[in-house]
Amino acid sequence: MLGISFDQIGFILEGMGWTLVLSLMGFVGGALAGLPIALALSRGGRLLRSVTGAYVQLIQGIPLPVIMFLCFFGISIAGFDLPSLVAAGLAMTAYASAYLGEIWKGCIQAVPRTQWEAAECLALRPLQRVVHVILPQAVRIAIAPTVGFLVQIVKNSSYAVVIGFFDLTYSARVVNNSTFKPFVVFTLAALLYFAICYPLSSLAYRLEKRLGRR
C-alpha cells in the first residue's frame, strides 16, 4: 500500500507507543517537580525564589535537544550508562518542570491575595491554606493551560531522536531509509502526531471556554 507494508506501519505504530510513554514520563516527572517549583516561585522566600528562578531560566535557555545530549552523554561520562529511555525521560522531566513551574506559578498567583488572608484569619496553618484553599482554586485555573502544554510535550518528545530513542519520529526515519518514500512515511508520522495532539488541544480549548464562563 503506497509502497510501505503493514509490517512497516506496525513498526511506526510501535514507535508511536514509545512517544506516548516518553510524553507520559515527561508529564508525570515534570508535574512532580513542577508543583514544588511553582510553590517556591510564588510563595518562597527570596533565596528559594532566586534559586528556583535560576533553574527555570537555565532550562528555558537551553534547547531541548541539548538537554537530551547532556542527560545522555553527560551522565554516562559520570560513570552511569543510561538507556536512552531514561536519559530522554530525565531531559523531558527537566524541560517540563521548568515550564509547568512557570505556568502553575501564574495560576497560584491568580488566586486573589485576600483568599490567603481569609484562610490565615481562620487560623489555618500555612500548608492547610495551600491544600484546602489555594490549590483547589489554582487547579481550576491551571487545567486549560496545562492540557495545552501537554501538546508541547508530545511534539517536543520527538527531539529524543537525537540520542537514538526509538519513538514515532525515529521509527518513521527507519522506515523511510528502507522504503525511500519520505512523503508517504512522514505524512503518516505527521498524521499520527496530529491524532495525539488534536484531541488534547481541542480539549484545552473547550476547558478554557467552559471554565472562563464561570
Binding site: 485576600t114 488572608e117 484553599v133
Partner: protein, 242 residues
C-alpha cells in the same frame, strides 16, 4: 483588668507613610466599639493590627491577654479567638456554604465532620441561611455572602469579632440584613470592634464610638458623641456623613 483589646500609643507605618501615630483605646469584655473616620484615618489598619494582619512598630497592643508587640506572639492561637469579617466577604468559591463554615473547625480544631456540620448549621441558623447550606457562594447575593462570612467566623467560637466595613459593598436593603445579624450578636454579648460608615448603626449598637483622624483617636465617647461633637473635625465629619 477585663479588657479584651488594649492599644497603648500604637504606631504603624507603611514605608514613609505613618498611618497610626500613637493610638490608645481599650475594649472591655462584651463591649461593642465602632471606629469611624475618613478613609486614610487609620481605622482599618488599627483593626488589622488586632489580629496580627499588620504588625505594629511602636507602642503596646494587648489582645486576649497576648502581647501583639512581642515577636513570640502565637498568631495561630490568637486567630482561634479573634474572628474577622472583610468588606469583600472573601468566601472560598470552590466550597459550599456549609463547607466554608466547617473548614476551620475541622482542620484547625480537629472536629469530626458530623460535629462540625452540626455546629455549622447552628451558625448558619444564626445568620438566617440554614436553607442555603449546600449552595456555592456565587449563587448567593452579596448580603447573603457576607452573612455566611460572619457564620464562618462564628464557627470558630471567637471571643472577639472584628468587622472591616462589612456593608460598604452592599446596597441599603442588603446592608440592613447584615446589620441585623451584627445587632443580634451584640445582644448576645459578643465583644466586637467594627469599622463602619453607617453612623446611625454605630450610634444604636456601639457602647463606645472612636473617631479616628490623622492616625490618632481624635475624639471618643458613647453613642452621644455624634450628637455633641467637641472638635471641628468631628463636627465636619458628622455634617458630611449624615
Amino acid at each position: 483588668m477585663d479588657d479584651i483589646v488594649r492599644f497603648h500609643e500604637v504606631c504603624k507605618s507603611f514605608g514613609d507613610v505613618q498611618i497610626l501615630k500613637g493610638v490608645s483605646f481599650s475594649v472591655g469584655r462584651g463591649q461593642v466599639v465602632a471606629l469611624i473616620g475618613r478613609s486614610g484615618s487609620g481605622k482599618t489598619t488599627a483593626l488589622r493590627c488586632i489580629n496580627g494582619l499588620e504588625t505594629i512598630q511602636a507602642g503596646q497592643l494587648h489582645v486576649c491577654g497576648r502581647e501583639m508587640h512581642s515577636n513570640t506572639v502565637d498568631l495561630l492561637a490568637l486567630r482561634q479567638e479573634v474572628g474577622i469579617v472583610f468588606q469583600s466577604y472573601n468566601l472560598f468559591p470552590h466550597l459550599t456554604v456549609l463547607q466554608n463554615v466547617t473548614l476551620a473547625p475541622r482542620k484547625v480544631k480537629g472536629m469530626s465532620r458530623k460535629h462540625a456540620e452540626d455546629l455549622g448549621m447552628q451558625m448558619l441558623q444564626k445568620v438566617g441561611l440554614e436553607e442555603r447550606a449546600n449552595y456555592y457562594p456565587e449563587q448567593l447575593s452579596g448580603g447573603q455572602q457576607q452573612r455566611v462570612a460572619i457564620a464562618r467566623s462564628l464557627a470558630m467560637e471567637p471571643k472577639l469579632m472584628l468587622f472591616d466595613e462589612v456593608t460598604s459593598a452592599l446596597d441599603p436593603q442588603l446592608t440592613g440584613e447584615v446589620l441585623r445579624v451584627i445587632e443580634r450578636l451584640a445582644q448576645d454579648g459578643m465583644t466586637m470592634v467594627l469599622v463602619t460608615h453607617e453612623m446611625a448603626f454605630a450610634r444604636s449598637v456601639a457602647d463606645q464610638i472612636l473617631f479616628m483622624h490623622q492616625g490618632v483617636v481624635w475624639e471618643h465617647g458613647n453613642s452621644d458623641l455624634l450628637s455633641r461633637p467637641a472638635t471641628p473635625e468631628l463636627q465636619q465629619f458628622v455634617a458630611n456623613g449624615l
